[in-house]
């Protein structure tokens, strides 16, 4: 069987590059919109030129976002083909709706690029807004799918039966015996699920597994994650745009660049206030409730302990203890059932008939569920030093980003008292060119590092499961041996790195280079002669 471990970092690399481009795809429209608005209100062509340059960067970035999205999509169906079962059930509605979002996102982006400068600014803003609406809708749907993997909404008590410390994941809209039979068949045969679901006629044999196709769309975990992820992406994109223009100001001292930085910094600060203290807090709350192992990893809670500040933030009650792995293990020990008891309770036969093959699950009958539970907790606990460190680094940089945003905002926008403090702090960074650039750079660090760290906590923190409490990576990985061969891995890393790094460099060229080699083109077009 394919070892999933070498494939996890490969998937993570693809997802991280996708995240880089998606952040710009989400943030640049806001930055471009602000510039178009200013152009419309003032008639100042500098704002139009800034919008045009950022649109060119958006064009290259969008292409990279689309292909890394394709990579992630193919990565899912090719490297993790067991996920196809989720695509055919829980993820069907979000992914089908995503088609609307993706197709219209591209159509409106092309329309925006083609018509920019040829139509009036309000029309361009309207087209850009439609593009952004579909882009964000796409983010909503993909986050809903990812959130289902973090908290499999709709499986009700299934995960809790195996892991008593887990909560119920919403209503039970699955055929539990069928779901458990599939899981047991994978465990008994030691084969990935894809080898079952690839058989012609298998779906006919199994029949309805999911009774509510829309269930993934109304998960509270998804709702909070959507706001958290999309705002984070917008903030990163805006921070990069702000820092880019601040750098130009730093290099040239030209006031027109400062004029561009100011409204961008203002819009950034407003969005940051919504993200950091409000949305991030609700995100933490759903993690506490729905991912108990992840929360224990984040807080380094090998054993249960008291910390009134964390308890107040996490539970709203300073007296509650932070639940550690010792408590989770105790919960496991309370489960006295065996796999055989579970199969009996669900009326499963000892020999499952699946896709023309018989799978004997009697060998699993004596396996204690408490042993499975404890073994999985041990696997999760191995990630504690990593997750705990990454989480607190992320929090520290988010605070730095928030302070930088506040200083920059009050530096540009006069508020009695606060602006004086901001100016005093800003002066620490040197003259105006340096202080604007360094503060903008802190915005980048204060958004990128929390996002990178946050995503690592989100994804690694749910291990050892790929679908929290239900499926392991080994159950959904491809059975193809090439996938984890050094040759294929080297090829895949090379393509991803070459394209992604080349793309980033190209975006830098597009943003910074003047046109130098247009003589032939101008001659051909009959201009500039």
């Amino acid at each position: 069987m394919t070892n999933p471990n070498p494939l996890l970092p490969l998937s993570a690399l693809g997802i991280y590059f996708h995240g880089v481009y998606i952040s710009l795809t989400f943030g640049l429209p806001v930055a471009i919109g602000v510039m178009l608005w200013k152009w419309w209100r003032t008639g100042d062509r500098d704002y139009y030129k800034a919008a045009r340059i950022m649109t060119a960067v958006l064009g290259v970035n969008f292409a990279l976002g689309a292909i890394t999205g394709t990579l992630v999509e193919f990565g899912l169906v090719q490297i993790w083909p067991g996920v196809n079962l989720a695509i055919a059930t829980f993820a069907f509605a979000p992914l089908a709706l995503e088609l609307i979002a993706f197709a219209n996102e591209i159509a409106f982006l092309i329309l925006f690029i083609v018509t920019l400068g040829r139509v009036k600014p309000p029309t361009s803003i309207a087209i850009l807004a439609l593009y952004a609406a579909f882009a964000y809708f796409s983010g909503v749907l993909i986050t809903a799918v990812n959130s289902w993997m973090q908290a499999p909404w709709g499986v009700g008590p299934v995960a809790k039966t195996l892991y008593p410390f887990m909560p119920e994941y919403g209503p039970n809209v699955v055929d539990v015996p069928k779901l458990v039979a599939l899981k047991l068949a994978a465990v008994a045969t030691g084969q990935p699920i894809s080898l079952l679901i690839e058989k012609p006629g298998f779906a006919q044999e199994v029949g309805i597994v999911l009774k509510d196709p829309m269930v993934a769309l109304y998960s509270p975990y998804a709702l909070v994650s959507i706001f958290h992820n999309i705002l984070a992406a917008i903030l990163i994109g805006m921070a990069v745009a702000t820092a880019g223009w601040a750098y130009r100001y730093f290099k040239t001292g030209d006031q027109k660049y400062l004029k561009i930085v100011k409204p961008l910094a203002g819009a950034f600060a407003v969005l940051f206030v919504i993200q950091a203290p409000i949305v991030a807090h609700f995100m933490g709350e759903v993690v506490v409730h729905y991912n108990p192992t992840k929360f224990a990893l984040m807080e380094g809670a090998e054993t249960t302990y008291h910390n009134p500040i964390i308890a107040l933030v996490a539970y709203g009650d300073p007296n509650k203890p932070i639940i550690g792995f010792d408590e989770l293990e105790k919960a496991c020990m309370n489960n006295t059932l065996t796999v055989g008891d579970l199969a009996k309770a669900l009326n499963l036969p000892q020999t499952l008939k699946l896709a023309g093959q018989s799978v004997d699950i009697s060998a699993l009958a004596s396996v204690k569920l408490s042993d499975l539970c404890l073994a999985d907790l041990q696997k999760a606990k191995a990630y504690m030093p990593l997750i705990h460190t990454v989480y607190y680094v992320k929090v520290a940089f988010a605070i730095i980003g928030g302070l930088a945003a506040a200083v920059l905002f009050f530096y540009f926008y006069r508020v009695p008292g606060l602006s004086a403090i901001a100016s005093a702090i800003a002066k620490i960074f040197g003259d105006e060119r340096r202080r604007v650039f360094l503060l903008a750079l802190l915005l980048v660090l204060g958004t990128v590092i929390p996002a990178v760290g946050g995503w690592a906590v989100r994804e690694i923190g749910r291990k050892p499961w790929s679908v929290y409490g239900l499926l392991y990576p080994s159950e959904i990985v491809t059975p193809v041996p090439y996938a984890s061969s050094p040759g294929f891995l080297a090829f895949a890393y090379l393509v991803i790195l070459a394209v992604s790094l080349g793309g980033l460099y190209a975006m830098y060229l597009v943003a910074t280079r003047e046109y130098k080699f247009l003589e032939l083109l101008k001659k051909g077009a009959g201009v500039g002669q």
């Binding site: 290259v60 169906v77 709706l97 400068g117 012609p200 491809t478 996938a483 130098k516 101008k522 077009a525």
Partner: protein
Amino acid sequence: MNPAVFIGFVGLGLAVTLHVIFVSMTLGTGLLAAWYRWKAYRESDPWAELFARKVFKVLIVSELFSGVWGTIITVFLAGFFTAVTTLATNTLFIPIAIAIASIMIRIPTIAISWYTWGKIHPRTHSLVMWIMALSGFGVPFGFRAIFAEINHPVAVGYYLQTGHNPGFMPYSNPLFWTLYLHTAAAVISTGGFVAASLLALDKDVRGVKAGLLPGVGFLVAQLIFGPLYYFSLDWYSPLLFKAVNGEFLPLLVIKLAAVVALLALGLASYKAARAGAISSYVKWLGPLALFTVALGEILNDGARYPNLVILGDKGLSADLFANLYMDIPMPAVYVILAFLILSIVVFTMAAFYALYRRFIAEVPEV
């Protein structure tokens, strides 16, 4: 057939047809643009550079939209036909990896070529353009292997019998090579005709000639690869061959008539262009070539109905591979189809402004 499976089949067919139409335009024009960009650099020919940029506009406008329909195909496949998608990914791992790697190179190099035009050295730019153009042909080199396998499962058959991954075996499928060469020639020819149509609007005789040359030349090549593919279907996928010559015969006749018209009008237009004139019907050759491509794809895929996989003179019904793990909410599917049509309307509007109203500047701005 289950209504959800039927809608899945039709939706998949629509997505494949639209995808192939756009891809045909972009692969062919990409090659033409790279060729003339390089020529402009080597020969310091200003007309060639302008021509390359004009032809490249077709790509710039349509490539991402063609990619969207590729994504739609994947979602339709995984969502509606879960078993066949899983079987394909487990079996045809290498062809799919080739296609994905090609997509990963192709799309960014298109955006990079457009936005760095005039900003990096022309030699470097020409190199990027060549990478862009040639990587495009890697995409059908991967995906056409899947089409060949569902018409004549050589590698999949080996996998199902032995349980071993067939590696590069899909490339030993006799249907693959005729299908791939047929596709490659068709897309170059279509790109040429589309370029000729576009340049006819500019009244650029040299441009019309430059488009018609690959258009007509590769259409003549099609006269070899087309019949070769057609007869290889008779040998290796007789059920499909029977359907093409049975209930789909009217479409086949229309396609053949379109090819004959394209060839005759293309030759006449080329002759006129050599004499320095643009015939009045050149502008219709691009749409006619695209119509021919669409008909070819409908014949290749639609004739498989109600089967999804052909095994010689037997077919495996789409129901066998369908997603029956839940009742697919049909109202949601109709809403999705309606919005997809909206996206086509918006895209067409953008393409109209870009290509016919010349909204994209020939010399870059700012």
